[in-house]
Each structure stands twice: as structure tokens, then as C-alpha cells.
Symmetry: C2
Subunit: 393 residues, 2 copies
């Protein structure tokens, strides 16, 4: 049995108290001789949840990649497929680098989309699976088999997706049924067929805007209903929910809530986005993620989900303290609920996945984004003073 | 005579070289016995320029302010006027705190709007003027007399603006001629009259969106032409330039360029914004700023203009290296040109106002936003390792 007492800690910003951890879970008390950690009056929150990223794509640790890529989505997709070869990108090494950066910032759960295509086959999936095994106990990684280069126009991709799911991918991915696939029926039928066959949930990238995105959304909603997949389908990005026809968006929100379809946002500043306060009012579970981190798509990103909470706040014009707390909730409880994390929270019985953050209040913690004093995974210290206890390769 | 040699430095990311500083300016050579600073191969850029902030409003250093303010612009303005009293905010102390934070991040020039209203009179102006004097040699502060609470509806404000400009404010401020003032002709006539009387430039906050903002913009353009104030007028925010009618915006751009009216953006994620690539193409000088930093308006902001360059990049979807360099240019040369800073740059003869940044390239410096190794103001070290050499009060 291992046991810890977290002394002098403020759970979610409440009054200072002591918390106890026994065998990796929060407990009502700790036995004598438990290790004591003085938290210095800092706020404790449950582990941050990175609900949308691409662990296999990051260029972390490599020489600077000079980005001269064209402006269209397809330019970026085509460029990346080639650059992976010319740079000799190793998905295992890259995913380990990014995951360890995540740990250093207090992320305890990651959902990563991982490319599956006829050019690179299952190399990405195998690489991230190896990282998942290597970092077991430090961070939980959920893998989405992701047809980044499209599925229908590239024969053989559906079969590779099938193999990826048999091999160990947890979630069926999808991508713009109209914009990229040019065949919404073919694409979504394939995605839902794979989900049914493997008994796995779905998470679809939907960048399509305005009415085109609304159309694809309606098709996703219809299939969720038909397949009885309520609670098992997520739409990532969902830019169409940021369209100006708010009455139509409200009707989409209603249907999404009815089928318990979840939304994951990266809160980009330059695209229309789902409005998180409206999603909450409609009863739609919402998570957030960093998207790609320093990859061939763009130079930004540092895997800090407290910074992402700030981005969610800035993008949604969240200024009041209760609003900033909503942004943080999306980056913790929201993502965890979508990923169906068992025992997520700070109550006795919950997994001791937690982070100490700086600040007088939760809103200040988000505004400050100071290095994390301590990160716990199942009660084990995995980062201290903004540095993970393990080194990146 | 004081002299320095910056050894092993990469100006703007170019090859490693040595630079020389004599009596506060870059020079072609340094005399024997000059102090040698090894820059470790880091990139040197000219000092960051904070071209739009509110030094008098910040709550830095105070206990956390729980924000429960209403959603309208006028709610925030009215709330702030009251809270300044209830918190006993001292504009001198607050402006010094924020300015020293700016210095720590490598900002060498600040343009600050400072509230002028019938409730607080010139207390803000006097406070920031005292800070400007106290920090002379560490950072240059330009003061805009800013009628935050409106001018026309609050009799006595125009007279206070006049006094502020006589006292030492450098620039005539203005605010939404329609949205706040409800009297575009009255407001803009007063602003331009003050500018003419004092021979000072203008910087107007224009939050008005779409056609209303376009109308106010046309009125500003017309008066700039009539008063022969080409090159002396700036519009801050200019949300209307983000409107969807791009043909109308293009015609506004053309007129702005003709009258050499400048734009300063804070690149907010939740509002329409001027598109910096289009401004550049139109030949319009563009600067950037943090806007308010941790004040009663919102909890965000850290005075880091390298982070602001990232925000400009994210908001404008700048991903390629040359695009990210444009974002950085706006946060350095752009603001400096608008403020007509004499001798801004890294060439012999220029003021030795400069910052060492981390990264292989300029784009990486923006993406990383690592603590600044060294900040120089007129050749004097004013910050090191992310910390200013002077302490905040």
C-alpha cells in the first residue's frame, strides 16, 4: 500500500484543507506513516484533459521547420504526408516528446488522433501505441484512428482503419465528409460501420463551415440516432456551430443534445467556433484540446491545457470569474466526461490524477498559467516545478 | 563614454556576429575596454513596442478582483469608474507595476491611453506622468489623454482633455463617436480641435462594428484630410475593418492609406479585426498592443508583446514563417513607426533599444515566448533572464 497526505491544499480554490491518497485514489483518511506533501496553500484541480491533439505529427525536438506551405487545407495535408518521409519523422519518438511536455503542464489524459493512410499505413498507430505503453502510469493516452488524407478517394484506407481498430485504436476517426471526402454518404456510412463492427466510439473532424457543415452535422446526427450510438459520438472543431444563422444553430444544438453528441473545440482565433456558453445551456458535453503542436501545419502550441483554457476564454469572450471557470471546466471535467474517464475528480474514491496550480482563485490560475508546482498521476508525482520527472527522448 | 560589445549575437536571426554600442546607440565599432556581453548565439531584435495599453487601469499587485460585471461596454465603463474609488487605485503605482512587467518582457516603448473623466479628473494623467519620469531611461512612455467615459454627454470633459494635453499628454484620444458618444460630429470635431490647438497627434478607440464603424471611420478620414493631419491619426481596434463586406473594407483601406491613417490592433479572438495582411498590402502602418492587463474589464494579459505577436498570428491565421515574421514586425517596427520613435532599429546610429530572444528563427521566438535573456534600453541592461533590474512597488 502507498499513501500520501496532501497538506495545506485548496481543492478547486476552496478553503485550505488536507487530502489523502491511498493506492492511487483519493481517500477519506491516510494511514499513519503516509508520505506528507506540503502544498503551500495552492489550488488543486483534477488532471488537465487534452481531448484533441495529434501526437504523431509534432516536430518537437527537431530543428526548426521553415513553413512555406500553401493556404488550403489540402495543401497542408499533402505537404505533411511528404514531409514525414523527408524528415524521417518517427511517430513513437515524436509522440513521446509531446506527451512528456503535456505531463509537465499537468495533463493526465490525452485523446490523440493518429494518421492512418495508404502512404504510411499503421506506422503512426504503432508508434503512438508504443508510447502509450511506455508512459503507462504517467499519462493515459486514447488513440483515434484518423483518416487525415481521406478515406473514400484513397482505396485501401478503410481496410487500414479496420486494422488500426483491431490493433488497439480506441476510437473511430473521420474527416470533413463533403470538403475532404467529397462523398458524405460513403464516408459516414464507412465510419459508422467501423464503429459498429468494433464496438468503439466515434470522433469526427468537422472543419466545414456554415450550411455545408450543418448538412454534414445533420447526417452525423441521423446516423447516431439510427445506430443507437447516443453518448458515443463526438464532433471535433464543429466550425459550423459558429455560423451566423443562430436559429439554425439552436436547432442543431437541440438535436445534438437529444442524441448526446459531444463537441470538442480547440478555440481557434481565426475560425468560427461553437460558443461554449450556448453548448452548456443546451446540455451538450464540451471538451477542448491543443490540436497540432509545432507541426507542419503551424508553429504554435505548447501542450499547456491551462493556456488552452485561456484561449477558450478569449475566443468566447469569457471575462467574469464564473465564465473563466467554465473554460477550465471544459479543459478538465468536460474532456474527461467525453472520454468516459472512470473516477475523475477530487472526491474520495476518485483516481488521484491532479495538479497544483498557482493563484488566489481558479480564474487567476487560468490567467497566470504559471508552471505547475506538482502533477500527480494515480497518486504518483509525475511532474514538479513545471518539469516532468521523466526525460523526453 | 559608455560602450558595449554584444558578442555572438544574431541580429533578426541572421548569422552570428558582434554588434557595438557607444553612448546608448549602435555603432560600427566599440573602443577598447568596452564591456563585453556574450549573447550565446541568441537572436537580437529591436525593443518590443506596446502600442496600445492602459497603464492606469491594471490591478497588478492587488488581491484578486472577482469579476461579476455585466456584458455591455457601458457596464464595464461604469463599473470601472466606481471600482477605482472602492479599491483606492493609485494610477502612479499601478502604471509603474505594469510598466516594469513590460520591461521584463523586452518592451522598450509604450503608448498608454489614460482615462480622463469628470469623476477622477487628471489623477490618471498625473500618475502615469510620474511613472514616466520615474522610469525614464528604462522605458519610454507616451500618454494618450483618453475620454473613456465619453466626452460630449459629460460636460467638463473636453476642458479636462484640454488641461491634460497642456499638462503633458502626448496624444489626443477619442472613443466610439456613435456607440458611446451618441454624437459623432460633436465628438470628432472636439477631438480634431484639441489636436489642432495642441499640435498633437490623435489615437481613437473605435469598437463600432460593421457599417456604423465604417461611417465613423469615414468621418475620421474626412477630418484628417480637412485638417491636413496625414500621418498623425491612428485608429485603435477598428473592428469595422473585420466586417464581411470586403469590397467596402477595401475602399476604406484605400482611403486610410491615402490619408496615412494608422491602425493599432490588439488581435482579440472574440471580435472582428482588421486583417493585418490586407493592411500591409494596402500600405497602412500597423501596430499592436495588449490592451488592458488584468483589470476590471477582464483577467487576462501579461504585457508580453512576443505573446501578442502570437495572438496577432493566431487571429490572422498566420502560419508560414514569413507570416509569423509579419506579426513580429507589427509588434516592433510597426508600433515604433506609428509612434515616430527616432532611431528605431539595429543599425549603427540607432538607439540601442533591443531584446535577446530564444529560438532558431524569428518564428520560433514567437512560438516559444521564452523568458528574455537580456533587454537593453539605450544600451543599458534593464532586464535579464525575464526579470527587470528594478523592482515593482
Amino acid at each position: 500500500m502507498t499513501a500520501k497526505t496532501l497538506k495545506n491544499v485548496r481543492p478547486m480554490g476552496a478553503a485550505t484543507t488536507d487530502l489523502y491518497i491511498v493506492d492511487g485514489r483519493f481517500a477519506a483518511a491516510a494511514p499513519e506513516g503516509a508520505e506528507v506533501i506540503d502544498c503551500g496553500g495552492r489550488i488543486l484541480i483534477p488532471g488537465l484533459v487534452e481531448a484533441h491533439t495529434h501526437l504523431d505529427k509534432s516536430l518537437l525536438g527537431l530543428p526548426w521547420y521553415r513553413n512555406e506551405v500553401g493556404p488550403r487545407l489540402i495543401d497542408k495535408i499533402d505537404n505533411e504526408r511528404e514531409v514525414k518521409v523527408s524528415l524521417g519523422l518517427d511517430p513513437q519518438v515524436q509522440s513521446e516528446r509531446q506527451a512528456i511536455l503535456s505531463i509537465s503542464h499537468g495533463t493526465t489524459h490525452i485523446r490523440s488522433h493518429v494518421d492512418v493512410d495508404t502512404h504510411h499505413g499503421l506506422r503512426g498507430i504503432e508508434g503512438v501505441m508504443a508510447t502509450r505503453e511506455k508512459l503507462a502510469g504517467y499519462v493515459d493516452i486514447e488513440i483515434v484512428a484518423f483518416p487525415q488524407s481521406s478515406m473514400i478517394p484513397r482505396p485501401g484506407t478503410v481496410e487500414l482503419m479496420d486494422e488500426a481498430l483491431a490493433l488497439g485504436a480506441d476510437v473511430v476517426g473521420g474527416i470533413d465528409p463533403c470538403g475532404i471526402e467529397r462523398d458524405p454518404k460513403g464516408h459516414l456510412d464507412a465510419v459508422f460501420r467501423l464503429a459498429e463492427k468494433h464496438g468503439k466510439p466515434i470522433d469526427i473532424h468537422l472543419h466545414e463551415r456554415d450550411l455545408m457543415g450543418g448538412f454534414s452535422m445533420e447526417e452525423i446526427i441521423g446516423r447516431t440516432r439510427a445506430h443507437g450510438m447516443q453518448g458515443k459520438v463526438t464532433v471535433s472543431h464543429a466550425f459550423c456551430l459558429g455560423m451566423s444563422d443562430r436559429a439554425y444553430v439552436a436547432s442543431l444544438h437541440e438535436q445534438l443534445a437529444e442524441e448526446r453528441i459531444h463537441i470538442i473545440t480547440t478555440a481557434p482565433a481565426s475560425a468560427p467556433v461553437p460558443l461554449v456558453k450556448e453548448l452548456k445551456a443546451a446540455g451538450i458535453l464540451t471538451g477542448a484540446g491543443s490540436d497540432g503542436i509545432r507541426d507542419t501545419w503551424g508553429p504554435y502550441g505548447n501542450a499547456d491545457m491551462l493556456e488552452r483554457a485561456m484561449f477558450v476564454g478569449l475566443r468566447n469572450n469569457l471575462r467574469r470569474d464564473d465564465e473563466v471557470e467554465l473554460a477550465l471546466d471544459i479543459c478538465t471535467h468536460g474532456g474527461a466526461a467525453i472520454m468516459e474517464v472512470e473516477g475523475y475528480g477530487l472526491e474520495p474514491g476518485d483516481q488521484a490524477d491532479a495538479v497544483l496550480v498557482e493563484g488566489e482563485t481558479l480564474a487567476e490560475a487560468v490567467a497566470l498559467r504559471a508552471p505547475r508546482a506538482l502533477v500527480l498521476k494515480r497518486g504518483m508525482v509525475v511532474a514538479r516545478g513545471g518539469k516532468a520527472v521523466i526525460d523526453a527522448p
